[in-house]
Symmetry: none
DNA sequence: AATGCCTTCACCCAAAAGTATGATTCTCAT
DNA sequence: ATGAGAATCATACTTTTGGGTGAAGGCATT
């Protein structure tokens, strides 16, 4: 970003310099203020468009693509210290279930599910369930 | 588009007019050629950025997708009737961002993001963002 | 017996997400 | 030019999540 700004400033300086040269060399100043402005406007509009295009470019992460049946990465699981029960809750989350639904499925109270999710967030360093899912996938914990 | 160009021309004309007025009223022309240019440059850079953003919003469907990058299932997208903007929000969701974070990234208000997510839920027949992500993945909409 | 971890559950509070409704603007195709 | 759809934003309200704290029973290990 710093580089871009610098380039920007340099370009502007160069432009002014060129105009000054024109001004004193050929005495065409009075005749073409509009021309100057037009040129500058055109140039910087182009520059602006370029910047705008730069801004809207976004990147896309490349996730691992599985083959057949999924096998959770045991070492990553242990590394994160995720317990069996927590893992079950994680699976439910990834499948798009609400805490209440997970609780029903696992015959738990919603409070217990919340405890598990909270612990999962800490262990996965996530602040939202969507983020936890994302990270768990990146670690190969879930398909 | 015609309107945009017209606006553009009008703005340029107005600017030149203003500068002319300044020139003849206050005789500050010589002192501030750089100033003029700076103002014009700034203005039109902003305009250019705006135009750039506008442009990428429309002609986007074919972003640079070299080998390895994910290509969304276009037919599934159309089938679900998901608009480009909604898709961007969907991507943000899948990457674990909160509505506020998505809003910041896309220069939107959180309300707009909520509208998009609500529409996504209807189109994907989901009741939660985690479920929407799950379904979108199943449809090959997102990696 | 003491310690540590897992599992279970409760309560409270705050923040985020989701729902519903309505409005404006712009673009596009008819 | 008219109408449909996209995109934007707002306001108000409900539900779900998430965070913090505490606690009790079970099961290993020390």
């Amino acid at each position: 970003m710093r580089k871009t700004i610098l380039l920007y400033a340099l370009l502007l300086a160069l432009l002014i310099f060129l105009l000054k040269v024109l001004e004193y060399k050929f005495f065409v100043r009075d005749l073409s203020l509009e021309f100057y402005i037009g040129v500058v406007a055109l140039l910087f509009t182009g520059l602006g468009i370029w910047v705008g295009l730069k801004l809207t470019r976004k990147k896309n992460p490349i996730p691992p693509s599985p083959g057949g049946k999924f096998v959770p990465n045991e070492s990553a699981l242990q590394q994160a210290g995720i317990s069996p029960r927590e893992y079950e809750v994680l699976e439910g989350m990834a499948q798009g279930f609400s805490n209440q639904e997970i609780a029903d499925k696992l015959f738990l109270s919603i409070n217990t599910v919340k405890t598990h999710t909270s612990n999962l967030f800490i262990k996965l360093d996530a602040r939202r369930r969507t983020q936890a899912i994302q990270k768990a996938k990146a670690l190969g914990l879930i398909p």
